[in-house]
């Protein structure tokens, strides 16, 4: 029998991009957060180079406020696939006096990550950082290129981006510059979930409904623990929740959910009427939040 491969165009495009990164750059790295998008990237990178190993390391910028489930998952994945993992800690940047810990009601280490990331890029001389950002996440992301050139300060100049024509990617840079590469730019949140489901990709348990101590603020559900600032009157309760994105605890809100399997999760996403970024506390601060952070080097 003739078994014919009919490509999934988005998957084929992503694999093409990942191979371009490996071919055009000397020291690429995959930024791994332990979230579903970076896990999807790892699968796509496996496909791009199979039967060889993924030819670049993973970098995790650890805020110290990650969910323990994510860290466990990360270590297991890396061991199973025989990948090289580099971890750099925001705590170290704080201890070195490079950044100051935020205080108060909306304090978070999310924006502090940028300094730790830029330091790691310099330390290892990375010239390409592969990230799992998607254009459907947020309006400012919709304008992001697949290969996005950053200067020595990691800054994004949105008015001066290289046009990207057809499949051709231009990753030529000068020493000191680096490129952020986004292989799943054209995927939607639902695409990612459907892919995880059909490919049967393992993901951290916090993506599924579980009981958790939480509190309510501004119409969002916050994790109750020592890393998250909470007013005395903000009452802690136990709820069945799940996370739609897995970032730092201080900036990732939970949603009420009964979804215990991938089928349930995909079903909920399909029905859902709140966008993924609606569950990111940092973006709610202002409409231009994302664009501002990106200009200063945030991923």
């Amino acid at each position: 029998m003739n078994n014919l491969l009919i490509p999934n165009p988005k998957e084929a495009e992503s694999i093409h991009i990942i191979r371009e990164v490996a071919a055009q750059f000397e020291r690429p790295v995959l930024l791994f957060s332990g979230g579903k998008d970076s896990i999807t990237l790892v699968r796509l990178a496996q496909k791009a180079f199979y039967p060889a190993k993924i030819p670049f390391p993973l970098l995790h910028v650890d805020t110290g406020h990650n969910f323990p489930e994510t860290i466990e998952f990360r270590d297991k994945l890396v061991a199973e696939l025989g990948l090289e993992l580099i971890v750099r800690n925001v705590q170290d940047s704080i201890d070195q006096g490079k950044v100051r810990e935020e205080r108060g009601r909306y304090s978070s280490r999310n924006s502090l990550q940028t300094t730790t990331l830029l330091d790691a890029i310099e330390e290892f001389k990375f010239d390409a950082c592969i990230g799992g950002a998607r254009r459907d996440e947020e309006k400012a992301r919709a304008k992001e290129r697949v290969f996005s050139v950053r200067d020595d300060f990691g800054q994004w100049d949105e008015k001066n981006q290289r046009p990207e024509l057809f499949d051709m990617l231009n990753g030529k840079i000068h020493v000191g510059q680096n490129v952020r590469c986004f292989p799943i730019s054209n995927w939607t949140e639902l695409d990612v979930w459907e892919y995880i489901k059909t490919e049967n990709i393992e993901i951290p348990s916090i993506y599924f409904a579980h009981e958790r101590e939480v509190f309510f603020r501004d119409g969002m559900i916050w994790t109750a623990n020592e890393h998250v600032f909470r007013e005395p009157h903000e009452e802690v309760m136990v709820k069945m929740v799940r996370f739609r994105t897995v970032g730092d605890m201080t900036c990732t809100a939970a949603v009420l959910s009964e979804a215990v399997s991938l089928d349930d999760v995909v079903g909920e996403i399909r029905e859902s009427t709140i966008s993924e970024r609606g569950a990111r506390i940092d973006d709610k601060r202002s409409e231009a939040a994302m664009e501002t952070r990106k200009k200063v080097g945030y991923f």
């Binding site: 003739n2 078994n3 014919l4 491969l5 009919i6 490509p7 999934n8 165009p9 988005k10 084929a12 495009e13 694999i15 093409h16 191979r19 371009e20 490996a22 071919a23 496909k47 791009a48 180079f49 199979y50 039967p51 060889a52 190993k53 254009r135 459907d136 309006k139 400012a140 992301r141 919709a142 304008k143 949105e158 008015k159 981006q161 290289r162 046009p163 990207e164 024509l165 057809f166 499949d167 051709m168 231009n170 030529k172 840079i173 000068h174 730019s185 054209n186 939607t188 639902l190 695409d191 459907e194 892919y195 859902s272 009427t273 709140i274 966008s275 609606g278 409409e287 231009a288 664009e291």
Partner: protein, 419 residues
Amino acid sequence: MDIQGRKLIKIATAGSVDDGKSTLIGRLLYDTKSLTTDKIEAIERSSKQRGYDYLDFSLATDGLVAEREQGITIDVAHIYFNTEKTNFIVADTPGHVEYTRNMVTGASTSQVAIILIDARKGVIEQTYRHFFIANLLRISHVVVAINKMDLVNYDEETFLKIKSDFDVLVEKSDFSEDQITFIPVSALKGENIASKSEEMPWYVGNTLLDHLEVLEPEDLQESSVARFPIQYVIRPKTEAFHDFRGFSGKLYGGSLKVGDEVTLLPSLNTSKIKSIHFFDQEIDEAAPGSSIAVTLETEVDLSRGDMLVKSSHVPQSEKQISATICQVNSKALRVGAKYILQHGVNRVLAKVDQIEAKIHTDFSGTEETDQLKLNDIGKVRFRLSKPIHFDSYKDNKSNGSFILIEEGDFDTVSVGFID
């Protein structure tokens, strides 16, 4: 097809400033229930702040602060939505002065172009230019959306007049009539976008969304011959795959099968396909668009930038090429200038031999020039450091196009379509 068996259709929009492109896309998102409650709330909030008594859907896509402040689109944005049957990717391209560069960029990855016309203004010079680009890029299908019909009392005569003006352009182009569809709409009011307009009973065709849904990707995809540019050589050097040497890349134009007789460029060596791999599966045949790895029956010298093709259809190999160039950077292209020419994943050096002419994008002919400035389109001859293995753009889009990279900042300054 995506995993769910939905087809994927890529669309670029074109229109002058304020013709309503962003509004139209916002309306498509809203009517297909692709806008989430928090996004709709944000639009309601912003519309109110600005003192509008309607929902300004352009706010759904205009993402940069400067865009929201000025109410215009500055950069190409990509928007995603889907219906039961179809996955859509829409490139929302700005209508202001830099439109040529942006529309060429947006259209280069699209199969369908929606050209908007303001019903009050009719076919204007900009319309010529948008259609010229759709023609240059050989977009498979063009929808002419005649917008703001609410402002002309949904008048049929107005629609017919614009259509007949446009038909004059179609005659000057390479398009056949069945590649062009005219739809009267009001993006703001949602007339003929996702639901049939009761205001325009005289229009018997499909709504915009229905029309986009009945387009079949097979009809929109070019059928050509197989071109397999080598991106990356996979050498696992593990015990299990000791001798494995996989040539990986994305396949364009036609399919490849195990057993196919192939020719390798530039060496002109021949071999046979031994196996085709997609991740851990071995397959017999790969359709165009697949990102695969192939192994060959014989030991050959083949590396990144080389090309594998079926021996029955070998492309041209030349060190001198002639192409239509669109300048996409503010640095002008001049005779004698040197560039890095990127053709697919292959790079060679290129020198501008001659600028034959600048082409007027309103179909009015050409003029002589010694340089091509941002947004200019012209005919240019190049001399290359090494031959490239190409097809004419009209026969094979991916193997007939290239970009020029300037050697100072390495900016992408031009895109070329080979004659």
